[in-house]
Symmetry: none
DNA sequence: TATGAATGAGCCTTCATTCAT
DNA sequence: AATGAATGAAGGCTCATTCAT
């Protein structure tokens, strides 16, 4: 008998991603995904219960990956502007390097399906963030605000700018990037 | 061809909205929309070329409506923090008052379909914004940054927070709201 | 707009019948039925909720038709051997004339689906039978037995014989037919 | 190829039976059968050519078993009413004791698949019947009728009654059973 | 203009069967 | 001999769209 190829799940993920970003969410059919992955549609059902299950796991998979990309291994995590800049740039880099994944995550966040996925699957990288935010507030580096608010003030603007510039087929210059970070930092720092 | 019954178009828009927010994007079929609008599916095709065309126009329609909600009639538009606060709160109010529309707009912004819609249809409210931003930069109220960047820094955080709090079934307190505005303002003001 | 062709239901019934008798129950697909009926598969769903619904209604339809064939219009229904012989021969004639329908009914009687169909849809011809049986028992024409038992003793043998002879590609001779009726009559008569 | 593990064939038969009676005919898949039998689906194909082949052999298997149940070992087979009553009751007992098997046989008898199976595979128990029938006619115990007709007159009514009473969730009382046998016997006896 | 009937293409999913070990 | 992974074809059903009135 053949051995179950564990990498096949990743091939499916990548194919799904590709199809979603090409044909949009409604144009993403199991057959298309299978074709792109070089599989039979039936094979997908060996690894996932059904389409919903697959999409949910796809979301969790890439959400986790994105979260992890914020923190490089062995990275300094002391509460300082430098630390935040590094994380912030890592986030930016992730969006730029993985536009398809990021687009999918954004796209999926507004989908009814996701609601209980989001709640049931707290990502692993959250604790690191929570700790950093709390310590930074304790040392008066950051303003005493709710963590979600800090997160939004820091990351939402650059995310939106990347999306905007992609839709206009332009790229952010280094200057603009620095501008955005400095402005975002002013928003949250004390 | 769309001359006679301009109201019918609006009935279709409202119905589409309702169906999308009830059954999600994939559950939104032309027949359902027609039923909710009290029409025959065939009738929709008298007013729109096809489903894509209808969705695109729906998007433009509500995008414009959202933009206009920023500026109330007869509103003072001098370059001041107060003016920005008013606009900012209008935006917040719109999101809170029209969660369906806003959700639809967000949902649809990431769709491949919309890409060239966005480029081809500069909304009408832009000139007002452009003028205000330029004047504000001239009077050194705002930092000398690209308008899109200013826009992102001002509005993206609160938008994201509303989405977040909705998904958690909470609401933003007045305090939090003020916090977010003040922080966003710090980001863009000089 | 087109007018709904009420006869279309009958076309579907006939087509379903044909397919079932050709390819068996498991080989009977909606697409095949639609093709034979000269319709699109989608059209069937305008007239029936789903496949189960269609099959159920098919069963009820032909069950009723078979029941009615027992009793010709204006037929004498006095409790006499002659009356029973007429009904019996009508039944035989029905089986021979409509082998497909009868086969379908037999086939379907053993299907799990049918259980609550049978109970919910008491056929219209039953009262006539009940009355005749009761009167016949009262005049001591028939033995005092449960009606279902009388029914089985009278009709089951000939039904089985027709099936048997069809599977052997032979036909019952008039002599054999009389033999079977007389024997069945002996079984139930007093 | 089927030499080594004759028992495995029986496991497959029993599993197929169980699945058919649990999930109906359409719900009976090879994988389910394999699972219930504790085998891999591929293994079934070592013992049978394909699904049709398996079903056919299943039919033949249980048909033979049913036929043999009529005649207990060492049983008296002289042409007498008592002999027939015993056989008749054996038949009844079989139906009641093995409702799944009987249901399967009935269900399958009307299937196009079975047509040539029936013709090609004369069951082994027939000779015993043939002999008994012929001798009984010779001694004027039975009427001079075709054996198939005798068979139908004797067994069809009780079979149908069992089916009927099962679908109504009732059971035949001893009295009713005797009634049916006596009536059936009147039909065939001289 | 407006409609409801009609449809072919396509969707998700399952299944009998084969592959490769 | 035996298996579990893999699959192409097909199943029931829906949908955007067109037809015919």
């Amino acid at each position: 008998m053949r051995i179950k190829d564990e990498d096949k799940v990743n091939r499916i993920y990548r194919a799904a991603m590709k199809v979603i970003n090409l044909d949009g969410f409604q144009g993403c059919s199991m057959t298309k995904i299978a074709t792109v992955a070089g599989l039979s549609p039936a094979t997908i059902y060996l690894y996932f219960e059904n389409k919903d299950d697959m999409i949910k796991k796809l979301f969790i998979h890439f959400k986790a990956k994105m979260g992890l990309s914020y923190f490089k291994v062995g990275m300094e995590l002391s509460p300082s502007k430098g630390t935040f800049r590094t994380i912030w740039l890592n986030h930016y880099q992730y969006i730029v390097d993985n536009p398809e994944e990021y687009n999918f995550l954004e796209n999926f966040s507004n989908c009814p399906l996701i609601d209980h996925v989001e709640k049931e699957n707290k990502p692993d990288y959250c604790p690191a963030f929570e700790t950093l935010f709390e310590e930074s507030k304790a040392t008066r580096l950051l303003q005493p605000m709710n963590n979600d608010i800090i997160y939004s003030l820091l990351f939402a603007p650059v995310s939106q700018m990347v999306k905007k510039s992609k839709s206009l087929n332009t790229t952010l210059s280094t200057n603009e990037l620095i501008q955005i970070f400095e402005a975002s930092w002013k928003a949250v720092s004390q």
